[in-house]
Subunit: 326 residues, 2 copies
DNA sequence: ATGAAAGCGCTAACAA
DNA sequence: TTGTTAGCGCTTTCAT
């Protein structure tokens, strides 16, 4: 068996509670005793059992992170940042993937609830109602989703969409297409709302294609209808779709940006190496990961005093946008 | 407080041990009683506390997954597959990132040890000796690393390197460069060994550049020396480096594959959208993730009967390779 | 088939 | 400052 608090107590000639204090409230222990206990612990390779500790303190020092799709390049930087931030605060991170499935999301939150101090719900697809309900079972921070006053880390996609549309308007585009994202996506709704408003106020038409899965493949599949639509520019729900679309168009000999301008959202690593390089709205994913962890850990145990924060986005103009043809 | 076994016992008028049995040994409980207990549990929303259970059974139903860099596109598919496989077997997954740092790796294994039934060590950078030592503290499966008889899931990079080099030889290349990976990488050593052998037996020269961090940036930085070296083809440690290199070369007006052929390893999503599209050795990352989980869970608690498996790689010829100039 | 009781590793009153 | 004791939620003998 592994070495326990009792082994350390025996080895250092004190009671187990003194060993316990040495680790969880060192100031309550005589300096000499502490040294002795620490030495014994070190020598035996003792590590407190967090699960046992959690049983009594109610704090697990674990966080759950639930994402729609780990392999979607949008998420890894977020996961990485969250994990780093969590570990720096002495927390471990459970990571789970829902495959874009709202039912799995719910099940996952419940399954993890007892083992974590809180859950980071990243781009969740479930209903507002369900999120509010789950929130009563376990502290939650939503990322990329605003629902009531549930603590949230949001990215200003509306602002990004506005900048993107204005960029296109400035280039002279008047018929713009929006390759919409998946149903249930808050980001998608924001995007649609803001893009529509920006286009209208610029005297342009915005035609919406979707909903679509947020994938390269979905982007590819959109090529046909987009080409037929007469739009001279496309704003896509994310870079993945934009890239899929560009790939398909390229294979059909469509020149970008000469014949069609394309704008993505997220600024994933991929977008810097496509041909042409993708103009896109950069989304602060790492910052969001860190902020979400901070927000979760600063939450009152009743969820008070967490709030919602909105992170700015940036338009990155590369090579996939230009004046409309003719 | 959350609902416990005691609440269910009260609600269904049985002793807590009966409730316990209902969940962990249903066959030992009268059918009618079981129904009653289950109903009460369901009604109260009871979920067994895994941590409490682990305290007594010794099995946490958690797995730790440690990778060098979550944001390196090589890993997300592996993590995703591992998580899916784990969850299907009713296990949760801790994910941690070492930032390519061997010291962090060790610390992480130890920190996680008490909370998991085993750890998946993906492309570890620490010493063989340390891995063997840690293995005595917690069940381990190494991915992309062969060390003694530690259970391992390996990818046949040697075979991939051979195919890549033979492909280049066939195109007529006689001076080939190897953009080596990071120190401590088993894959890197395999690659170097196999590529050198294959080149030699084909009457070609293989010049090694490295070690390098496995990043796009490192690939970029290699452009100069590669250009000066007179090599007509480059095999890179991974796609990321290959892509960085291509980007830098493109910015200098070097035509690929006309002036220089480039081959990557991994077949990450990125490699399909570069220009030219990257010829690369596809590595079975998802299969490796699944296999690693299976191997860990099928391990005897003493680590017996796990073994090592080797997964095949595939050469994917795209557009970044062609005959040497002249 | 069910209940009683002990105990997993640890923390947290309370006493000394 | 340290020891004693009870108990977190659960499983597992051992009785009944």
């Amino acid at each position: 068996m592994a070495v326990t608090i009792r082994d350390v107590a025996n080895a250092s000639g004190v009671h187990i509670s003194t060993v316990s204090r040495t680790f969880s409230a060192p100031h309550l222990v005589n300096a000499e005793t502490r040294v002795r206990v620490l030495a014994a612990a070190d020598q035996l390779g003792y590590r407190p059992n967090r699960a046992a500790r959690a049983l009594i303190t109610g704090r697990t020092h674990n966080i759950g992170l639930i994402v729609a799709d780990i392999a979607n390049p949008f998420f890894p930087p977020l996961i990485k940042a969250a994990e780093a931030q969590a570990r720096q605060r002495d927390y471990h991170l459970f990571v789970a993937d829902t495959n874009e499935d709202a039912t799995v999301e719910e099940e996952l939150v419940r399954a993890l609830a007892k083992q974590v101090d809180g859950v980071l719900l990243c781009s969740p697809r479930m209903s507002n109602q369900l999120i509010e309900r789950l929130r009563r079972e376990v502290p939650l921070v939503a990322v990329n989703r605003r629902v009531g006053n549930v603590p949230a880390v949001l990215m200003n996609v509306a602002q990004g969409a506005r900048m993107a549309i204005e960029h296109l308007l400035q280039l002279g585009h008047r018929t713009i297409a929006l390759a919409a994202g998946p149903r249930g996506s808050w980001t998608g709704r924001e995007l649609r709302r803001a893009a529509t408003a920006a286009a209208r106020s610029g005297g342009a038409t915005l035609q919406v294609f979707g909903p679509n899965p947020p994938t390269e493949q979905a982007g590819r599949a959109l090529a046909d209808s987009l080409l037929r639509s007469g739009a001279t520019a496309v704003l896509a729900y994310n870079d993945l779709m934009a890239i899929g679309l560009m790939e398909e168009l390229k294979s059909r000999g469509v020149q970008m940006p000469d014949e069609l301008s394309v704008v993505g959202i997220d600024d994933i690593a991929l977008s810097r190496v496509t041909h042409p390089k993708l103009t896109t709205v950069a989304t602060p994913t790492s910052a969001a990961g860190r902020a979400a962890v901070d927000m979760l850990l600063s939450q009152d145990r009743d969820g008070a005093a967490a709030g919602q924060i909105m992170l700015d986005t940036t338009l990155i103009i590369r090579e996939s946008t230009g004046p409309p043809p003719g």
